[in-house]
């Protein structure tokens, strides 16, 4: 039924444009990652790249900003517009708002990237004050965030139109998930928006004499942890509502999927302090409270693990699999879209388990700000999320261009190479982290590297893994670009939509209400963050002057 929505021309075009920009960011960011991995293993190419890259940290700023802020946000913006409108079976409530939002986000992106290119914003993607970048960097990023709010507004208006015509019907699962994702992100992004508007933009314009670095960090991490669920939930949308169909099965339980998304809506945000366990000026009680919530947000991921694996198992059994594990080889391993996402899930599972270590109040002292953390998020956002988005693109690009995927074998080799490359690199990074190696550091040139032969023994693995990973990325881009420019065969692709074994009507109606869950979300945030923020604001001192340290 969803194929028969000819009126979605604008929505499909918007999705394509957003995703194209995201892919450009992924390509440049990936190149920067290769340079870093080589530098770590003793091959320093930065002297040859001056002044395009003025320093290792200039490249690292590109890598972080382009990967976790631009690739994710732009892919997600396009994908969620696509998912929600196809799932509602109707166009955006306001096409002109949709176009304006896209324009706003592109202008914001250009504003933010321009000072990075001129080496005037080498502050990494965390931009902690009192490092002070060019004002355009902060203003541009703020415009991108505001753009995501406008997408939420447009989808909420679309939902209301759909609801008026469909009273009493359960919201279609993909659209429900898209709106929950954006609603969660809206609440979460208020922290960084406040940081930008109240601290960083006036500070960078020279309107204030200084910044309060601790207050700024706390507002940053208010957004900085839940942003990972803003990256992850769109991948979960594919795992819940598309992968079961691609695997030849059904979604095991629709109500359980909704429960898990609603848990993310209210547990994602009151957890940011676990990034600040080692910060002075924040009490241990509040850190421990948010550690508890962080373990709480592990629960909906466990529900997802069960529901998705059970759904995929239904597929494997429907395809003739028998016995405890016999369903696994029967899965559609000849489909690049399925393979990329299934391997993304495997890597993500390890990332999730490692994340429990980071969240552990005291065990975190061993790994905080070490390479362990780098290994962790390359498994989560760098594999669970990125491989899933690549897997989605293996059907979505043919769908949007009308051209069949250029090479299926290449699309099959690519995720396996990613598994090997990322496996090697993140394994080495986790280990190096346990050996105290700091993150965000030009380790190949570190003054103390000669003191650590144990690091030197492991660092080549980072370079080898990085090269394999880069090769995998290259195969992906060749395939996508060739599909786009040289595709000859017409695509026969449908948007995969999984049926549910245990359908939405078996769950309670309250799962389709908004007000109770949004109320719980706000109450938990006020409980976990209210006193901390009130204390930090009451004692705030905007007296640390901005500096340029690059």
């Amino acid at each position: 039924m969803r194929e028969a929505v000819p009126a979605l021309g604008l929505e499909n075009r918007l999705a394509a444009y957003y995703i194209a920009i995201g892919l450009l960011a992924l390509a440049v960011g990936g190149l920067m990652g290769l340079l870093q991995a080589l530098q770590h293993s003793g091959i320093n190419l930065y002297p040859y790249l001056y002044p395009v890259l003025a320093s290792y940290y200039h490249g690292l700023t590109y890598h972080g900003v382009l990967m976790v802020l631009v690739w994710t946000t732009f892919f997600i913006s396009g994908f969620l517009i696509f998912v929600a409108t196809h799932s509602f079976g109707r166009p955006l409530a306001s096409p002109s708002l949709g176009k304006f939002t896209f324009g706003l986000m592109v202008v914001g992106l250009l504003l933010a990237v321009w000072p990075i290119a001129t080496n005037d914003a080498t502050v990494l993607f965390t931009f902690y004050p009192p490092m002070r970048a060019h004002p355009a960097f902060y203003i541009g990023l703020t415009m991108v965030v505001v753009g995501t709010w406008l997408i939420l507004l447009n989808l909420v208006l679309t939902y209301r139109q759909w609801r008026a015509e469909n009273p009493g019907v359960r919201t279609p699962l993909p659209a429900f998930m898209a709106v929950v994702t954006l609603a969660m992100w809206f609440i979460a992004s208020l922290g960084v928006a406040l940081e930008m508007l109240a601290i960083l933009i006036p500070f960078s314009l020279g309107l204030t004499s200084g910044a309060d670095p601790l207050l700024a960090r706390t507002l940053f991490w208010f957004t900085g942890h839940p942003i990972v669920y803003f990256w992850l939930l769109p991948a979960y949308i594919s795992w819940y509502t598309m992968i079961p169909k691609q695997a030849g099965g059904k979604l095991f339980s629709d109500p359980l999927a909704r429960v898990s998304f609603l848990l993310f809506l209210f547990l994602s945000t009151p957890v940011g302090l676990h990034h600040q366990f080692t910060d002075p000026g924040v009490g241990e009680l509040w850190k421990f409270l948010q550690a508890i919530f962080t373990f709480g947000v592990f629960f909906p991921s466990l529900l997802t693990f069960f529901n998705v694996v059970a759904s995929v198992e239904l597929g494997g059994r429907a395809r003739g699999g028998r016995g405890w594990l016999g369903w696994i080889p029967r899965l559609p391993w000849s489909d690049p879209s399925f393979t990329a996402q299934a391997l993304g899930m495997v890597l993500f599972a390890f990332g999730g388990i490692g994340g429990l270590v980071n969240a552990s109040y005291n065990v975190n002292l061993v790994v905080h700000n070490t390479m362990w953390v780098v290994g962790h998020f390359h498994l989560t956002v760098g594999s669970g999320v990125t491989l899933t988005f690549m897997g989605i693109l293996y059907w979505l690009v043919p769908y949007l261009t009308g051209r069949a995927l250029w090479s299926r074998p290449l699309g099959l080799v690519q995720p396996w190479l990613w598994l090997v490359g990322m496996g090697l690199m993140s394994f080495a990074q986790h280990w190096l982290g346990l050996l105290d190696m700091p993150r965000r550091t030009m380790v190949g040139s570190a003054a103390y590297l000669p003191l650590r032969p144990d690091w030197q023994a492991l660092l080549p693995l980072v370079g080898i893994g990085g090269v394999i990973l880069f090769t995998s990325g290259l195969l992906f881009f060749v395939n996508i670009v060739m599909t786009w420019v040289a595709g000859r065969r017409p695509a026969r692709v449908e948007v995969p939509v999984a049926e549910a074994l245990h359908g939405p009507e078996t769950g309670p109606v309250v799962l389709d209400r908004w007000r109770p869950w949004l109320t719980v979300a706000l109450a938990l945030i006020i409980f976990a963050y209210g006193p901390v923020l009130a204390m930090l604001v009451a004692s705030a001192a905007f007296n640390v002057p901005g500096v340029r340290v690059w």
Binding site: Y128, P130, M131, S253, G283, F299, N362, L365, V549
Partner: protein, 168 residues
């Protein structure tokens, strides 16, 4: 409810209960180990003005001092791109309290093979204690990006065999 739905409920329940029990038991283990072993995290210590460190005790006199039998305090300032002092000497078996801050941007403070891992934030004081029993050199690194010289910012905690004594 038909049999199909019932078995779905049973499978769901069989997963949900352990999914609650596992994080809860991990949390209990963490709470017990943290509080029973007396492991602390940095907390509120009051604010200071990073522009006036040279006249703000204890940062007017960075260095190591003995504060009791087997107990030392190390007052350290992080700034681009060095620690002052960058060598901290204590005898083996000492309990050392690190009191540190930053003069400029955010820095990190991590000591090899020890639970000392903290952020140095301008305007805030970071404090953690650790016991050093085994003689040797322990690397102290800045683990937060602090500018183009970040990777040359390091120091050492030198634990001397006890009997030789001596703080400096």
């Amino acid at each position: 409810m038909n049999r199909n739905n019932l078995s779905v409920y049973i499978y769901e329940l069989a997963w949900i209960l352990p999914s609650i029990a596992i994080p809860v038991s991990m949390l209990v283990a963490i709470a017990l180990s943290a509080f029973a072993m007396g492991i602390h995290l940095p907390g509120p210590e009051g604010r200071l003005d990073p522009a006036r460190l040279d006249s703000t005790p204890p940062f007017d006199k960075p260095g190591v001092r003995q504060v009791g039998p087997g107990r030392y305090e190390a007052v350290v300032i992080g700034q681009i791109w060095r620690f002052t002092p960058n060598e901290i000497r204590v005898p083996a078996g000492s309990e050392v309290t690190f009191i540190a801050t930053s003069r400029d941007v955010v820095h990190g403070f991590k000591i090899q093979d020890s639970p000392v891992n903290m952020m140095l934030i301008p305007g805030q004081v970071s404090r953690l204690s650790a016991r050093f029993d085994r003689p040797g050199e322990y690397l102290l690194v800045c683990h937060e990006y602090c500018g183009t010289g970040h990777h040359v910012m390091f120091g050492k905690v030198i634990v001397e065999p006890s009997g030789q004594g001596g703080s400096r």
